[in-house]
């Protein structure tokens, strides 16, 4: 941790906050908004496209609510969690990863990681918000959730812990971003540390939602919470490279030396994490092949069954092996190549989340009984409405990213 952190008094924080909102800060934000309005033409074209995606998909989502999810989504009694849950997981994995990787700099004081902090913290708030939007359109009674999570909590439920901790996480990350904006770095560090702790707790609980369902052999075990944290870091690195590169394109600027250095270390960390991810995946499969019949069936579905293309092409080639080679080949200097690698990683990880959620449910409950209803793997293909909600989630994240780049003028921050 930088310096010797002294617990700041509440009154001091309040004073600092009040000071920060003086006219000069407001004026600089105002000039940023003006700057936003005078962005380049291609920026507005991009913004119009993402805005349109959000608009069209919200129409579809509202239509889904109106018609009823049973009629518009392809989830069933047997496979109640589909692409919306996997997309939610994808977004919060990315958010947690952005938080963890960026905390190496602004919480733990590693200088090389400092330049990415602001953008990462902003995007971690944006991605978790995107995730919650997708979840909002999956959960049947989201408003009841807010109420009964508070007045009727079940402390043995991982969902309860995940929801509560992610609520706290989103709050801390938003507070941290505000502190970073007004250059209150010590306060930002405390908020960042709180965000990091709640984020890791929340995210491992998300893994445990799957890992503690003992009726689902594919998921059950301590692997899930651990793997979720690991894959979050991989997702986070990919997202940092992806969005930083794009951010500089959007602002039409060249990276300075510290930023190039930050990209290099994040790139190296990505490569390491990809190696660990491949190691994890390998052992998950090898142990899964020597397991109870239900789990073996699920692993076979992934390796040679209906999900083989997802696995070999998207997860292995596009998600892990391809970017691993590209990153090595880029020597973490060739930014274009690193960007391609990060895009491949994000694509592959999205499919990883989909496979993880769906394959856990494709083996019927009564598989071992040998009854007619349970002889085959259960089918699931996302519906039009489900795909639109997913697109909406991506649209929201993309729109917020673009607006953020302009309003916060490239998330520049001085190194302290």
């Amino acid at each position: 941790m930088p310096n010797e952190p002294k617990a700041p008094k509440v009154s001091e924080i309040a004073k600092d906050l009040a000071k920060s909102f003086d006219s000069s800060v407001v004026a600089s934000w105002y000039s940023n908004i003006v700057g936003f309005l005078s962005g380049s033409r291609s920026f507005y074209v991009l913004l119009a496209i993402t805005g349109l995606i959000v608009f069209v998909s919200s129409m579809a989502a509202l239509n889904a609510i109106n018609t009823g999810y049973r009629h518009t989504y392809n989830v069933t009694r047997e496979i109640p969690w589909g692409i919306l849950i996997s997309t939610y997981v994808f977004f919060v994995v990315t958010s947690t990863g952005l938080c963890i990787v960026s905390s190496i700099g602004h919480v733990f004081g590693l200088k090389d990681f400092m330049p990415i902090a602001k953008r990462s913290v902003f995007l971690s708030v944006v991605t978790i918000f995107g995730g919650f939007i997708v979840l909002f359109f999956d959960v049947e009674n989201p408003f009841r959730m807010a109420l009964y999570n508070v007045i009727s909590p079940n402390l043995t439920s991982n969902i309860w812990w995940m929801g509560t901790l992610y609520g706290a996480y989103m709050f801390f990350m938003a507070v941290e971003f505000v502190f970073l904006l007004i250059e209150k770095h010590k306060l930002a560090m405390y908020a960042g540390l709180s965000g990091l702790l709640s984020g890791i707790a929340a995210h491992s609980n998300l893994g445990a939602i799957f890992g503690m369902l003992h009726a689902r052999e594919y998921w059950y075990g301590p692997y899930m919470p651990i793997y979720f944290i690991l894959s979050a870091m991989a997702s986070g690195c990919a997202a940092i490279i992806f969005f930083t590169w794009l951010g500089y394109k959007v602002n039409n600027e060249r990276m300075d030396k510290p930023m190039e250095r930050a990209m290099e270390v994040v790139g190296k960390l990505s490569t390491l994490l990809l190696a660990v991810l491949m190691f994890f995946t390998t052992w998950k499969i090898i142990t899964g092949l020597v397991a109870s019949p239900g789990k073996v069936e699920a692993i076979k579905a992934l390796l040679t069954g209906p999900y083989a293309l997802n696995f070999w092409l998207f997860e292995v080639l596009i998600g892990m092996a391809g970017p691993f080679v590209l990153l090595l080949y880029s020597r973490w200097k060739n930014l274009g190549m690193m960007f391609t690698a990060s895009l491949l990683m994000i694509t592959g990880i999205f499919v990883m989340r989909y496979d993880l959620v769906v394959i856990g449910q494709v083996v019927p409950s009564y598989h071992d009984l040998g009854v007619k209803e349970s002889l085959h793997l259960l089918p699931y293909i996302p519906s039009f409405h489900e795909i639109m909600v997913v697109a909406g989630g991506f649209g929201v994240v993309a729109t917020a990213f673009l607006i953020g780049e302009k309003i916060f003028s490239g998330h520049k921050s001085e190194i302290h």
């Binding site: 009674n141 009727s152 071992d368 009984l369 009854v371 209803e373």
Partner: protein, 251 residues
Amino acid sequence: MNMNKTDLETLKKDDIKTVSPIERREFLKIGLAISGIFAGGTILSVVSNMNKVFASPEEFSEKYPYKPHYSMVIRQDRCIDCELCMEACVITNNVPDYGYRTMILEKEVPDAIGQKKEFIPVLCNHCNNPPCVRACPTRATYKDKKNGIVMMEYGKCIGCKTCVVACPYNARYFNEEKHSIDKCNFCFDTRLSKGEKLTACAAACPAGVRIFGELSDVNSEVYKLIHQIAKPVWVLRPEIGAKPNIFYMKG
């Protein structure tokens, strides 16, 4: 054992001729039950049955955790798939056509000698250690403290469907009209609480497949069916460790 050498020597030789056919048959039955070879080896041997089959081994035959401890024994081989139970359930509990609380699974064994098909009725197992109840974030589903029925408080359900995924027995579905997960509750609201002694499915079954009753009552039929070793009794998916209260047997 207080049996000395002389005692053994004075014993008459136990020749096969001295054993009556009835004795032999009874002996063989116990042997088959113990080795658990019925139903293609899916049945547990009686040794481990003591632990696995009884809803609550530590309180086995003395007392069950609930009073009344509702339970159902399904005499599987009697089921003819007439589906009257399913129909009765739908009518009694207002179950929509896209869902079900109870179902009859069909098993085909083409290379079996004689009968090649059997039917296996399934429903919520009202587990003593229910995975769905642990998973629910808002305690919308809970195990009734008095009678052990796994119930729903419809108004609290947020529709996250975690309980649906958590259930090892595929016993839950989302009910659009109730805007909540719906499941079997042993007809508690529709029959038991109104003084009826049987669930709708048990009452409707013409073949005596579904024996419903109180497991903590030593005089009840379910108690008698379960607390014997001549015929094997088993539960579905015992490896999950949910301690279900739906028992299966044949004969």
